[in-house]
Amino acid sequence: MNNTLLSITIALLFGIGTFLILRKDLIKVVIGLSILSHAVNLLIVSTGLFNGEKVPIITGEHIEPSSGTIFTDDLANSILAPIVPESAEMIYVDPLVQALVLTAIVISLATTAFILILIYRIYEEYGTTDISKLRRLWG
């Protein structure tokens, strides 16, 4: 499935985030970082849509364990992952990207909180949130 509108939205979010991290005001920079991390998360999740239709929660029906799945670590052909023959149809959207993004969301909370406290402390020490004024950090 190809969703051009979503792609455009993600690209615009990237642009806005980039514009914000180029600002001198630290608070604006953090807002930019947040928008960038939203954009990245959306990007990763949207790539998981291509294969299946359903939410990756198994409801009732039983999945045949490893029906026709070949596992290989064929370095010579630069294949490091299990190969699934095309017949094995995927009915769910990709759960792995969701798991990755779930981790990313939580970590971005941690980093955002840390940066914000850092800005608070910078403001206390220097009396400003202007990056260009923080020359003492430059050594």
Binding site: I8, T9, A11, G48, I63, A113, T128, T129
Partner: protein, 795 residues
């Protein structure tokens, strides 16, 4: 056979190497207890090492080399091995024996106010490295110990850290010796690629390996690399310049490292490599050539030195060059004609030169000057020092019946022999060069005695009363002077136990060596007499020559290696400064711009390579209306967060973006993400609000029109790159391999018993990722806590 009392030689050597290292580790703690007596402790360690090395004397004197190893890095074919033959034993004796004397002497020389633990720690480390190096049986191990001696030497030269001259000297020695060591390492690796082994005895004891090596196309380059390493370490050829500056070290250090032991490492390497490379023209031209060149140059340059330690430094360089020259004397049929002489001179030089340095230390200690122009006439005030200095200096000059005479005679003999082998003009030239070297040595040796002890006392430069040094300083020097005489008069003991095994170790065959004071009226004796006569004649012109050298140096300052070195180092420093200034301007925006530019380039190139067009033709705008609405609102909210001036408004807009993202997650079929996103967004907004309450909005950025235009261009470029990547990623790029996700989908229920595949991945399949995530949260919390609590310290 070894006697019953002796230790197993292998264990003895291992202990002799590691004892100093372990002791160095404990020096700072022991110093707390025994204070300045730490010097005696260190001296005792050196004595123990000396005795331990003594355990191998019998075995080695009977011609058995000790070879044993412990597996160290089997995958790289590297063992920790001991190879003890006469040569390594001799230098081991010198390192530990002189080490003992120096550390004893240091007790009086070093003021108790100095940082003694640091001093003795590095002396012990150096001694251990030096012993380790000479007993190494493989080349990599030898290299490691070799560089350790360079590093400890650096630390000791720079011992007085606040003197710029010390720092300059230390840096210079480090750059040159370690740089040379890298050349040597390259040589060793080539040697390994030719012979297939790093093991020294394996190469030595297989004549066919050596034969193959000598005809190998890489032979010459290997030899050159190794000779560069040895020359840099032993201050030979153009690399001599570091040794005079190394004299900034405390005098005992100069006596120990920079005359008796460390500078002999290069000579040791030459001797060790002798059976592998000698017997070729390349060896004679490289080793002998560098030796002859350095011998004349350093002997000559010694004239203009005024610091007595600088004179000694130049004399050390020229004496080391004697050894290089003698090891370099070689021919196909007689590869090692100078080996015995060189080895003997190595021992003799270590003794008389260490003694001279100790005397220099005594003189500087008592008169507070080392300038030979200010010294003079001290023989009455310091009679014992005068006698000791005279013995050592005359030994260096080659006056009978002192030890220097014997090896100098052998030097002349082998020079005659080498000249004879080469034939033609060399028959005269080589002996003449040898005599010339002897003349310079004679002249500066006499200058030392004359300048310090004889002549008129310079009352206005010297203290009123100059005393004899304390016994702890005199006894070590006197002991060395006695050794000088003893070896001179009765060389047979030293020859039997040390020189003969060492020579045999280098030549790998039985040697018959007869050294005696009187050989009859031989040509070499005539050469010695000629040396003395010309030497006296040159000495009368000593000051004129020095003045001429000074004038020449002023006229053409660029004609010196020091000038070249300083230019290179200063140039490198300023280039590095320019480079850093260019790549680290210090404004964050420059870094971000550079990264974004790279992203744009790296992002578009693959799209251009895979897809012919940047925008594919299967664009799909067929989406439900609610989706258009959500996405449109998200863009509006994001733009609002960018343009709204007040923090509060911007943050509310930002949280709107976050909640809309969670809605998008829902129709992207990711309910877990939507839930998490809502929770996290709420928390983030609360933290934002808490912070902006404390951080009032004083600063308002005024964006100039050009900045705005520039930033908009950058943002648009990034935006476009992402769009191109996304459109092409969903269109053209076909997975070369299938996703790992199928595995999780299939195994979620049977293996983990979970219906929610995302949850199973997080807590089960990829549990370690989640552990990492939790760690990040903990670290952020700890960091936040510390940032907040560090605030209290200031106020």
């Amino acid at each position: 056979m070894q006697s019953r009392k002796d230790m197993d030689p292998f264990n003895a050597i291992i202990l002799a190497i590691f004892f100093p290292f372990v002791a160095a580790l404990f020096v700072p703690f022991i110093e707390k207890g025994i204070k300045h007596r730490i010097g005696w402790f260190s001296a005792a360690i050196a004595l123990i090492s000396f005795i331990l090395i003594g355990q191998v004397t019998h075995t080695v004197a009977e011609g058995h080399a000790i070879k044993q190893s412990i597996t160290w890095l089997p995958s790289a074919g590297i063992e920790f091995g001991i190879y003890a033959d006469g040569l390594s034993m001799m230098i081991g004796f010198i390192a530990s024996g002189i080490g003992f004397i120096i550390m004893g002497y240091s007790n009086s020389y070093m003021s108790h106010k100095e940082d003694l633990p640091r001093y003795y720690k590095y002396l012990l480390l150096f001694m251990g490295s030096m012993i380790g190096m000479v007993f190494s049986s493989n080349l990599i191990q030898l290299f490691i110990f070799w560089e350790l001696t360079s590093i400890t030497s650096f630390m000791l030269i720079g011992y007085w850290r606040n003197k710029p001259a010390s720092i300059y000297g230390a840096t210079k020695s480090l750059l040159i010796t370690v740089g040379g060591g890298l050349f040597m390492l390259a040589g060793f690796i080539l040697l390994h690629s030719i012979t297939g082994t790093f093991d020294i005895p394996t190469i030595l004891q297989n004549p066919e390996i050596v034969q193959n090596l000598k005809v190998h196309p890489l032979f010459l380059i290997t030899l050159i690399l190794i000779v560069i390493g040895a020359s840099a370490k032993s201050a030979q050829g153009p690399f001599y310049i570091w040794l005079p500056n190394a004299m900034e070290a405390p005098t005992p250090v100069s006596a120990f490292l920079h005359s008796a032991t460390m500078v002999k490492a290069g000579i040791y390497l030459i001797a060790r490599m002798h059976p592998i490379f000698s017997g070729t023209d390349a060896w004679f031209i490289l080793v002998g050539g560098i030796g002859i060149f350095t011998m004349l140059l350093a002997g000559f340059l010694a004239f203009r030195q005024t610091d007595i330690k600088a004179i000694l430094a130049y004399s050390t360089i020229s004496q080391l060059a004697y050894m290089m020259t003698m090891y370099g004397y070689t021919s196909y049929h007689e590869p090692g004609i100078g080996v015995a002489a060189a080895t003997f001179h190595l021992l003799n030089h270590a003794i008389f030169k260490a003694c001279l340095f100790l005397v220099a230390g005594i003189v500087a200690h008592e008169t507070a000057t080392r300038d030979i122009r200010k010294l003079g006439g001290l023989r009455k005030e310091m009679p014992i020092t005068f006698i000791i200095a005279s013995i050592a200096a005359l030994a260096m000059a080659g006056v009978p019946p002192l030890n220097g005479f014997l090896s100098k005679e052998m030097f002349y003999e082998t020079s005659l022999e080498m000249g004879h082998i080469l034939g033609g003009p060399f028959e005269v030239l080589i002996p003449a060069i040898a005599v010339m070297g002897g003349v310079f040595t004679f002249a500066y040796s006499i200058k030392l005695i004359d300048g310090i002890f004889l002549g008129k006392r310079q009352d206005h430069h010297l203290p009123q009363h100059v005393h004899e040094a304390p016994l702890t300083m005199l006894i070590p020097a006197a002991f060395l002077a006695v050794l000088v005489i003893f070896i001179g008069i009765s060389p047979s003991t030293a020859v039997y136990y040390i020189i003969k095994p060492a020579t045999a170790g280098i030549l790998l065959e039985e040697v018959h060596l007869h050294v005696a004071l009187w050989h009859g009226f031989t040509t070499s004796l005539m050469m010695t007499i000629a040396t003395f006569l010309i030497g006296i004649a040159v000495y009368t012109k000593y000051d004129n020559i020095a003045a001429w050298q000074n004038r020449t140096n002023e006229r053409i300052p660029w004609f010196s290696m020091n000038y070249v070195y300083d230019k290179i180092v200063d140039g490198a420093k300023s280039r590095a400064g320019d480079f850093a200034g260019c790549f680290q301007p210090g404004t964050i925006k420059t870094y971000i711009n550079a990264m974004l530019l790279l992203f744009v380039i790296l992002g578009t190139i693959p799209a251009l390579m895979v897809a012919a067009t940047l925008i594919p033709d299967n664009l799909n705008f067929n989406v439900p209306a609610y989706e258009v609405l959500i996405l449109g609102l998200m863009i509006i909210a994001a733009i609002a967060s960018a343009v709204l001036k007040k923090y509060l408004h911007a943050i509310i807009a930002l949280s709107a973006v976050g909640y809309l993202v969670s809605l998008v997650f829902i129709y992207l079929k990711a309910p877990d993400l939507a839930m998490t996103q809502i929770l996290v967004e709420t928390l983030t907004t609360i933290i934002f609000l808490l912070v902006i309450v404390r951080v009032p909005q004083i600063f308002r950025e005024k964006i100039s029109r050009t900045t705005m235009a520039k930033d908009l261009v950058i943002a648009s470029a990034v935006s476009l790159t992402v769009l191109i990547l996304l459109l092409n990623a969903t269109h053209e790029i076909v997975y070369p391999l299938e996703s790992l996700s199928y595995y999780f989908v299939e195994k979620s229920l049977p293996l983990a018993g979970g219906h929610n595949i995302v949850n199973v991945i997080i807590v089960d399949f990829r549990g370690y990722d989640t552990l990492g995530e939790i760690s990040v949260l903990c670290l952020a919390a700890l960091g936040t806590y510390n940032l907040i609590s560090s605030r209290g310290d200031k106020q």
